[in-house]
Amino acid sequence: MAHAHTHDGVNHLDHSHDDHHHDKPTGIGRWLYATNHKDIGTMYLVFSLIMFFMGGAMAMVIRAELWSPGLQFVDPLFFNSMTTTHALLMIFGAVMPAFVGLANWMIPLQVGAPDMALPRMNNYSFWILPFAFTLLLSSFFTAGGGPAGGWTMYPPLALQAGTSFPLMIFAIHLMGASSIMGAINVIVTIMNMRAPGLTLLKLPIFCWAWLITAYLLIAVMPVLAGAVTMLLTDHYFGTSFFNPAGGGDPVMYQHIFWFFGHPEVYILILPAFGIVSEIIPTFSRKPLFGYEAMIYATASIAFLSFIVWAHHMFTTGMPLAGQMFFMMSTMLIAVPTGVKVFNWTTTMWKGSLTFEPPMLFSLAFLFLFTIGGFSGLMLAIAPADFQYQDTYFVVAHFHYVLVSGAVFAIMASVYYWLPKWTGHMYSMALAKTHFWLSAVFVNVLFFPQHFLGLAGMPRRIPDYNTQFTDWNRVSSLGGFVFGLSQILFVIVIIQCVRGGPKASAKVWDDATPEGLEWTVDSPAPYHSFETPPVITEENTHPSH
């Protein structure tokens, strides 16, 4: 696979232009018409950050309303639409685009490619997103307000919505299309654009994690599209998919949704696994322990994720055999996930550890994701799930895996690669402050929610009995501080973009970062590998 590429000038068809035009496009056109993987990656990351803040602001409304019993600020319906859009924004707007942004930035650099394989489609998959979220959020200004049926959109409730209904459905179609295109680009780049000699078993683990995630995306996003299309036709065209009077079943929706939804939660965590698998070895100054086992574990998780979906539906009255099957298959996921946790731990074993911000966030990930995994395992035990289901115990579970899991990993990756992107070091002190505030208050925020759930507080309620006041107050307090500390994150990033001590090519010089991305200058040149790099033992992940 020989690779290099052309920088043709303005006119693609004019071959008299030589191959060494390094002029960056300027102005707004640079962004609107971008085909450069770094520009597109940057747009994805910035978009994701904006969505994180908007979704977070909605979470703050939720936490403020739940500060004490009695309705304080908002109408119950508005509360429900906060919950619903908070989740949609965080999942489809913040976490997934952040991962795609990282893929855009890092995959071509890590595989030694000139760019992503399909640069124009790359731009397309990004620009669909702002429009999709405009569509979704515009529903707040229609009669009946925003979507309020939960991010899971269960019928018949979801069908009761007003004008927000088609806007939400079509927004989801667009988000799905965007994700599929992003995933195709990742697969093709990794499978077709690797530098000569970079065999699959030398591939950086982040690429591996993303590759498997991309397969998941292509397999399940269309299923979500199908599910919401059925909602749409049930609502407007009189079909009976979810209407028992015509022979359908509301629970059928849940099966289709969760066939998407469960793999989706691994879509939200596998790239995070990839990230920490890059960072922990670097700051342990040791190669990743069990590189191949990590790949097999990731693949097993992906495979299992297709046969566990109904663990979200234990209370729907599934036949006993179904409950048994889904309980046991779900429990099995603990095995490959455990393998990953053990491998990370062993990577640190006999290492030489230092605690830079990326490492700190990865370590917090390690501890807190595992806690979220344990509560997941408890949820998987069907008889116990009858008590946990739809309570704050579930809310606690998924925020542990999503916030202190996925989001922390994203923050770790930003702190890891930011100097590579900008060419500057950032303020370690500020970043560490950000870390400690986040790591402490994320627990203040979400740990008490376990107690609330066990004590019987249902989720998706705007008001509650006085017995739940204390822990809600602790949680809200944690939420406010956690939210405010995220402002530090933005400050660190802006400062670093603006200037700072010059970063070297390796950035973490006294650690051992591995991979091709560290062989190029910081900031990485506008065009990545114009001629394929030569693969050596030093610049790839020594897998053996």
Binding site: H5, T35, I128, L135, I180, I184, M193, P222, G226, D249
Partner: protein, 299 residues
């Protein structure tokens, strides 16, 4: 490659320098979706159908412009084998995503037939459902559900038979699968006349299929009491065959474009990604039909 001194010759991976089309495409999709939403909600202030039409127009311009650009680049020899491989892989995974879209609807069909209908009619794990709510419902397949939804006052309807039009349609599509393969061989062998004849045959068969499908729908709506709202049978029948029909239409249009391109002299024996992509797509449409024929019409 055809032209000398092209970047492709030098083993370079072609990276386009910036393109307005993707952004234009995002705007088009936005207008289209907004138009669809407004139309469905019957908004009076902004006539939704105009927005929807504008959306379709923009999409048309999008395909014309974007694909036109790609064709132009390809004809100019900008793409090397690696680019070609990227396109191929991209198309394969796109088709796989389409397969999964259909899988959702097949899943709904299987679920209804094997789980929800038996439950509603008192079989299996949920016999109280029947006893308490749907006392007189007998289930079976085809069915429009316990309340016999549909256009006829007495709830009666007729299912589509597998023999007759659907069988003819099967034949049409299978034949078109053969003709496109013949066309492909002709292209490889450099036999342009056979190529364009068999390619034309393929999309003509495709359009005839769509025509038959329209006839079938007409009959279903007017004579059989079988409509989109005819319970779960009508829902699964029309959504599955409808989405399939839509794909056949798109496929046939793509075949037509490819055919026009062959007339213009595009494609060579070893450089014809677009041809193959459309051919794969056509085979995919074919395979889905076989699934439909078996599970929707026959069993």
């Amino acid at each position: 490659m055809a032209n000398a001194h092209t970047p492709a010759d030098q083993g370079k991976y072609y990276v386009p320098h910036g393109s307005p089309w993707p952004f234009f495409g995002s705007v088009s999709l936005f207008v289209l979706m907004l138009g669809a939403a407004l139309t469905l909600e019957g908004s009076d202030s902004i006539p939704g159908s105009y927005v929807l039409m504008a959306g379709f127009a923009l999409i048309f311009v999008l395909f014309y412009g974007w694909f036109g650009k790609v064709i132009e680049e390809n004809q100019a020899g900008m793409y090397n084998l690696d680019v070609d491989r990227s396109f191929r892989m991209g198309m394969m995974w796109f088709i796989f995503s389409e397969v999964m879209f259909f899988a959702a609807f097949f899943g709904a069909l299987f679920y209804a037939r094997n789980l929800s209908i038996p439950w509603l009619s008192g079989e299996g794990a949920k016999h109280a459902t029947h006893a308490l709510i749907w006392g007189s419902y007998e289930g079976g397949w085809p069915t429009n559900g316990p309340l016999k939804l549909g256009p006829h006052a007495d709830g009666s309807f007729e299912k589509m038979d597998a023999v007759g039009l659907p069988a003819i349609n099967t034949l049409l599509l299978l034949t078109s699968g053969v003709t496109i393969t013949v066309a492909h061989h002709a292209l490889r062998a450099g036999n342009r006349a056979v190529l364009s004849i068999f390619l034309a045959l393929t999309f003509i068969l495709g359009f005839i299929f769509v025509g038959c499908q329209a006839l079938e729908y007409h009959e279903a709506y007017t004579e059989r009491g079988l409509q989109l709202g005819t319970g779960i049978y009508g829902s699964t029948f029309f959504m599955l065959t409808g989405f399939h029909g839509l794909h056949v239409t798109i496929g046939a249009i793509m075949l037509t474009v490819i055919w026009l391109r062959t007339l213009k002299g595009h494609f060579t024996a070893d450089n014809h990604f677009a041809f193959e992509a459309v051919a794969w797509y056509w085979h995919f449409v074919d395979v889905v039909w076989l699934g439909l024929f078996v599970f929707v019409y026959w069993l």
